[in-house]
């Protein structure tokens, strides 16, 4: 178990001061992916194109993982309101 820090980047960087205990690197990636998809499900609904990124750092501050999710929606045929 080790503590990793997940910084969310979405229109500005958000530092993670608490960190999360992870069993191994697979869990680090799983948490990053679940966080990105969870936030996208919650916050991307009103956007046509939405990018959220997470940088994971270890306790020394070194970057361990970069994860980026871009969600794009495009209407095929919709009259302007």
């Amino acid at each position: 178990m080790a503590r990793y820090f997940f910084e969310i980047e979405k229109g500005g960087l958000h530092k993670d001061e608490t960190g999360t205990e992870c069993r191994d690197l697979d869990e680090v990636r799983a948490i990053a992916v679940r966080t990105l998809t969870g936030i996208a499900g919650e916050e991307s609904v009103a956007h046509e194109r939405h990018t959220i990124a997470i940088v994971v750092r270890d306790a020394t501050g070194a970057s361990v993982l970069d994860a980026t999710l871009t969600l794009t929606t495009a209407w095929s045929n919709r009259a302007e309101a």
Partner: protein
């Protein structure tokens, strides 16, 4: 402690009182239940999957929780329990534990033998109804949780949990003035609302930025109750507090 002169099982009476009105004989019988007191530290198992409990566990002080794990080791916290709750009441009639029950904080617990609980309800339909009501409200809380976890996003789930834990503590005299203890860690709260701790922290920051709540040192302070209720889509009807009392009050005023 201001409550030290009160009978040990007073929290149970407060809990039953919050759902149904008992008569004096019934109240005395509840307080006279035989029990064994046990102090447990934080995060100690009280009963685990597959066990056959012979006692009902009543929380007198502290917080307990029900939880289960997936095969890959992810925990879901199923529910939190506070003073006055009997989290394993269902095992009076369902012999085998289907989930695990553990303390969350240090707890004072009272273990009441199943035979004593069964004897209590004989000839006391009011107590029988109170225990039924308690179990049915537990089921109602689970239905609300399915709705929340299935259809609300992290922000709504978080706000909903805060509304519920405030209302439940207020009903048994443990909270007031829009402030209540909330001892679970952020990781535990995240496991209760079913999101990652990172996502939970984001929701918490949003609620704080909107001045809905402050969560600090295990104490929740609600700054904007109507706003928090709106974010949560919280309707306390599923908690079924004091419905009996309201009914008899309505009769009295009719």
């Amino acid at each position: 402690m201001a409550d030290s002169h009160l009978p040990t099982l007073t929290p149970l009476l407060r809990k039953l009182d919050s759902v149904i009105r008992l008569n004096d004989e019934e109240r005395r019988a509840v307080l006279a239940l035989p029990h064994m007191i046990r102090q447990v530290g934080p995060h100690e198992d009280i009963a685990t999957v597959g066990e056959r409990p012979a006692h009902c566990c009543l929380v007198l002080k502290g917080w307990a929780h029900r939880y289960a794990y997936t095969a890959t080791g992810d925990r879901q916290i199923l529910s939190f329990y506070i003073a006055g709750d009997i989290p394993d009441l269902q095992h009076l009639y369902l012999p085998v534990m289907d989930h695990s029950l553990a303390s969350l904080t240090a707890c004072t617990l009272a273990f009441i033998p199943h035979e004593a609980m069964r004897a209590l309800v004989i000839g006391r339909p009011g107590v029988m109804a109170a225990l039924w009501r308690d179990t049915l409200v537990d089921a109602s809380v689970y239905r609300e949780r399915i709705m929340t976890l299935g259809r609300r996003q992290s922000l709504g789930r978080t706000a909903h949990l805060f509304c519920e834990m405030y209302m439940r503590q207020r009903a048994v005299g443990l909270a007031g003035d829009l402030s209540c203890p909330l001892p679970p860690t952020q990781a535990e709260l995240a496991d209760a609302v079913g999101v990652t701790a990172v996502h939970f922290n984001r929701s918490l920051r949003t609620l704080r930025a909107q001045r809905r709540i402050v969560l600090q040192g295990g104490q929740l302070t609600i700054g904007d109750w109507p706003g928090l209720v709106a974010t949560a889509e919280f309707d306390p009807v599923y908690l079924h507090f004091n419905e009996d009392r309201q009914r008899s009050d309505e009769r009295a005023s009719a």
